[in-house]
């Protein structure tokens, strides 16, 4: 139950049967009901076929039908480690929060750091910058890979950075260079968050922002370690939640 999207994933004997997402919108509960039904329909199942439902994410208390819930960091650890058993650090960059989670070989969360106070360390930052730059969110990542010059941004705050992007455009910096500066800037903040936890390999990057190739590149460069990025990084939290009953980590409601 993310702040931007609700993700539903169905697991059968540790195999992913189906997954899908929908915008959380103004009424996250209704949005969840709808996408949950849609995913069930996709695989020809009904509510009664589902043995156990675990909710996670910012809106987990609103989840309909949930039997139990698990913390976002616990879910990240389980999901990340399930996809990459060598993973010991999971970095999750979502729409409004970011976190770095340490886990053991069983996928159990050992320690974590989290930022939920500042938009500049979350996907919201890139969205706002894409608007200021007048490029589509999906395009800003690939665009940044075409950068030729390294510009560094002074502003940290999303509000101030918007003005800075506008000034950079006025100074006729190329959009690609600005896009790279934007990704470098958020990557720096995520890297210092992760360094507070301490980086232990292997490192998995998950969350919606992990789909942005420009960000992945910047973070990889900043951290100096290779990042493992799953094909569908935004579903890793839901995957972790679905794995919880199998690992008996959830708290009964």
């Amino acid at each position: 139950m993310g702040s931007k999207n609700v993700k539903v994933l169905i697991l059968k004997d540790s195999q992913i049967l189906a997954e899908d997402l929908a915008p959380s919108g103004f009424d996250q509960k209704t949005a969840t009901e709808k996408i949950f039904k849609a995913v069930l329909r996709k695989v020809g199942l009904s509510r009664g076929d589902i043995a156990y439902i675990v909710a996670t994410g910012a809106g987990k208390d609103l989840a309909p039908h949930a039997n139990s819930e698990v913390s976002v960091v616990g879910a990240d650890a389980l999901g990340g480690n399930f996809l990459y058993p060598s993973a010991r650090t999971v970095i999750d960059v979502g729409a409004e929060t970011s976190r770095a989670v340490r886990c053991n070989e069983k996928g159990r969360m050992i320690d974590f750091v989290i930022n939920e106070k500042c938009a500049a360390g979350s996907g919201t930052f890139i969205e706002a910058m894409a608007r200021a730059l007048e490029v589509k969110l999906e395009e800003i990542g690939p665009l940044s890979l075409k950068a030729e010059k390294i510009i560094s941004m002074n502003a940290q705050c999303t509000i101030f950075a918007e003005s800075e992007v506008v000034s950079l455009i006025h100074e006729e910096a190329s959009k690609a260079d600005i896009a790279r500066a934007i990704h470098d800037s958020i990557a720096n903040r995520i890297a210092s968050l992760a360094r507070r936890l301490g980086i232990q390999r292997d490192v998995v990057l998950v969350g919606g922002v992990a789909k942005n190739i420009g960000f992945v590149n910047s973070l990889q460069r900043t951290l100096g370690v290779e990042l493992l990025v799953p094909e569908e990084p935004e579903f890793v939290g839901a995957l972790g939640a679905a794995l919880t009953p199998l690992k008996s980590g959830g708290n009964e409601k």
Partner: protein
């Protein structure tokens, strides 16, 4: 489309003064991130000033503010014997003889406006917020600044004024018109606080309640800075947000100390420029 964040720009000449009889004419130019202020002083006293929005270029903004302050006085820039630049764009004031940081200038300016009893100055500007401690001479003894985050700065107020379509000068009074003070919005970040405000509006909260929740969160944020620098009386507030009674009243409630009231003949926005004008006089006399 109406721009609700836009505050009034203006100039003023202090009535009943003749600059041609002054022995020293100096100027202080404070180019802030959001507003540019030019102050002309005759023998160390306020003579004329202007306040306007800072444009894309600092030198242009400095020139414009200075020319506007001179307007109608028959004074020419050449009549000004010494100019000190201050503020975010202080090194980009083309006609300045020297540049001094705005922290030093605000302390000096506050000491001039309110007198030697001032010990703590809160400068709430467009893009930063500073808590400054000073001695009886207006010399800075310590300071703390937030210039990294829009929360607690004028930009934060502009954002909410625009969101609610409330003219920025009305944000404060409107926020105080609530019968019961609501809980402050829980987010510090301006971006998240804006989403939270939108959610409250959707829930049917009236504008004044949303403004109250927003102003109160901002006041607690600023109070933190003051607490960290250590408060001592007398306490004064300068900068644009000092005009927002909704923030000031809530801030005074939190810290339990009232700020000295603004002196009629001054505008709290020009405190830094006044300080710069006073330093200009010192330098002129020394040289």
């Amino acid at each position: 489309m109406k721009e609700h964040w836009r505050w009034p720009e203006y100039r003023r000449t202090v009535p009943g003064k003749d600059w041609t009889r002054a022995s020293i004419v100096t100027a202080g130019v404070d180019v802030g991130a959001v507003s540019s202020k030019a102050v002309i002083m005759t023998d160390g006293e306020l003579y004329a000033y202007s306040i306007m929005r800072t444009g894309a270029s600092s030198p242009d903004s400095a020139n414009k503010a200075m020319n506007w302050a001179l307007e109608g006085t028959r004074m020419k820039l050449g009549n000004v014997q010494y100019v000190v630049g201050t503020g975010y764009g202080r090194v980009n004031v083309p006609f300045a003889n020297k540049a001094i940081t705005e922290i030093t200038c605000h302390a000096r300016g506050a000491n001039y406006i309110w007198g030697p009893t001032v010990r703590t100055i809160l400068d709430m500007g467009g893009q930063d917020c500073k808590a400054i401690r000073c001695d009886e001479k207006g010399k800075v003894t310590n300071f703390l600044m937030n210039d990294k985050c829009a929360a607690g700065t004028g930009r934060g107020i502009e954002v909410i004024a625009d969101l609610l379509s409330v003219p920025i000068e009305e944000v404060g009074p409107m926020s105080l018109s609530v019968e019961k003070e609501p809980e402050p919005v829980s987010s510090t970040c301006v971006v998240f606080a804006k989403s939270e405000a939108m959610e409250l509006l959707r829930k049917g909260w009236p504008k004044e309640m949303v403004l109250a929740a927003y102003c109160s969160a901002m006041a607690s944020r600023i109070a933190e800075l003051l607490r960290r620098v250590g408060m001592e009386r007398d306490f004064v507030i300068t900068g644009g947000i000092s005009k927002n009674v909704g923030i000031v009243k809530r801030l005074e409630n939190i810290i339990g100390i009232e700020a000295l009231p603004m002196k009629k003949e001054f505008d709290p926005i020009i405190a830094g420029a006044i300080g710069a004008g006073l330093f200009a006089k010192d330098f002129y006399e020394k040289e």
